[in-house]
């Protein structure tokens, strides 16, 4: 029996395997030292980087919900200068590809960070965060209007030559239309989905648990939404789709891969089981061997 080919090709570059860790859940790649083996990861998608440091939202920033959680971190990050001086050397030591999540309030913010990443050899590619529901400016606004997303992606494409992955929001009417806009402007891959807008209310305080009201819902609760989005998007575009949303087992990952994803990201499940990516990868291998698949692309097209 030949081992299946688990590599993932994006814009002429290759990820060693399809199991990455999602932005915002894995810091800048060193926080889980001692708890997980980064050598087994397909990619680390970093915490979002914005030009200026961001303190993030006031607490509480988290609330547990059935089979999920709501977060409103607010893109807290040290900013581009501190990223370059402190975080790049962590990414250089990572034994797997590092993909930097890029965010901003205005288009110039994205361009500034993308331009800086062009110069950093240890950055494999960037993921454009146009789908964060937890900030007042930018964030999701770039990912909900196809024309706005098209011009942003086009502008970033002009300053960034390595792989550009656009992270899509599920909080839209027609995710296929948004996906096509990103593809036509030069995106190399799409990741979907970011969190769904959600709210939890403290009935005794008669206030939302999260001070800003809404946050982003993640976890197994959103998995069916993510699988459906990947299925729609993969039919709408020709570029690879990276699936995420509520994956906590190999079977969950297989749902995404069979729905059209070429790779997946594990997010919220890392909090519970930091070593789950390696076990998911092992499970994908077993499935492919037992079911007779030699490469990930062969999983596509059944429905």
């Amino acid at each position: 029996m030949v081992d299946p080919d688990l590599t993932v090709a994006i814009a002429g570059k290759t990820l060693p395997n399809p199991v990455g860790v999602a932005s915002g859940t894995f810091g800048f790649g060193e926080e889980y030292e001692g708890l997980t083996d980064t050598a087994s990861l397909g990619a680390v998608y970093t915490k979002a980087v914005t030009p200026e440091p961001r303190a993030g939202n006031p607490p509480p920033r988290l609330a547990e919900t059935p089979a999920g959680m709501i977060n409103a971190i607010g893109l807290a990050n040290p900013g581009l200068a501190a990223f370059l001086s402190e975080k790049v050397r962590i990414l250089e030591r990572l034994p797997c590809p590092a993909i930097v999540n890029v965010a901003g309030a205005v288009m110039a913010d994205y361009l500034k960070v993308a331009e800086a990443m062009e110069e950093v050899d240890s950055v494999w590619g960037i993921e454009l965060n146009v789908s964060c529901p937890n900030v007042d400016h930018g964030g999701m606004a770039f990912g909900t209007d196809p024309k706005v997303l098209e011009s942003l992606t086009y502008a970033v494409r002009k300053v960034y030559s390595k792989p550009i992955i656009v992270k899509l929001s599920p909080n839209v009417t027609d995710i296929g239309e948004i996906a096509r806009a990103a593809e036509s402007a030069g995106a190399d891959a799409l990741s979907c989905i970011n969190t769904l807008t959600g709210m939890k209310v403290d009935v005794l305080r008669r206030q939302p648990v999260i001070p800003r009201g809404t946050g982003g819902l993640s976890g197994p609760a959103i998995r069916p939404v993510g699988v459906a989005a990947v299925w729609k998007v993969s039919k709408a575009v020709g570029i690879p789709v990276i699936g995420l949303g509520g994956i906590s087992s190999a079977e969950d990952a297989m749902e995404y891969l069979l729905a059209g994803a070429s790779a997946i990201q594990v997010g919220t499940a890392l909090f519970g089981e930091p070593d789950i990516p390696g076990r998911i990868l092992g499970g994908i291998k077993i499935y492919m061997v037992q079911e007779g698949f030699s490469r990930i692309a062969d999983l596509h097209g059944f429905f």
Binding site: G24, T25, F26, G27, E31, Y32, E33, G34, L35, T36, D37, K47, A55, G56, N57, P58, P59, P60, R61, L62, A63, E64, P66, A67, G68, M69, N71, I73, A76, G219, P220, S248, T268, A269, L270, F271, G272, E273, P274, D275
Partner: protein, 268 residues
Amino acid sequence: MNSGSPHKRGKARILDQRIIAEGYREMKLSYSSDSNGRPRVRPSSGQFFTILPHHYPLSIMRRPFAYSDSDENGFSFIYEIRGPATRDLANLDDGSPVDWIGPLGSTFPEAPENSRPVLVAGGIGVGPILYLARELAEAGAESLVVLGARNVGLVPRLEWPETAEVRICTDDGSHGIHGTVLDGLSNTNVTNAAFYTCGPHPMMAAVHRFAVDTDRPCWVSMEEMMACGVGACQGCAIPVKDEDDLSRPAYKQACVEGPIFDSRELIW
């Protein structure tokens, strides 16, 4: 994987748990006997661990708890039944497995020389304070422990070291001193006190103000919702003073920069 990081994920089994006050339990666990069972370093007072909920992933977030004791064979903690996950915990049989990550976070710092540790606790804050009192006793240091509770039913039944002078205060006067923990500190010479506190936010804020008024050091153990527990998710933000720009919000992470903070660092 086998790195310099002090924490790890491991398994333990529940030895026993007992009711120490209305709605409060003390759980004792022993590390599993295989090679993955024990932590890399012995947890110290102030530190915490997280456990995977019994119904994971239907309940997705690990729950953080402060150690109330620890030795080579296992550890203890005190918890309050607050919701479904802690209710599940209370219903687990002795011998049940528990999936932990620890030890996490910062420790209570040593008191300055010639000072007297004054430990103030309420609610589940009694857990880390009990561990600190035990560590101080091991080191041969005396301490004053002041416990606050709403009424006698909520006063924790615990064994304190002999070197600790324990004062109990109840809001309704049904046990010990009638009043708050500050009433428990009245008529006390605090000129050489070093305050350590863990408990409800208003209680810690009051102890902080008392420490500032008496010009004594004060360390607090902060509680906040956590997801990762290791500094990755930025979920457990604690508002702090930004010395460079007081108009700007600034936060520290309870999990890796705390949970123990110098009270003067925080915005109360």
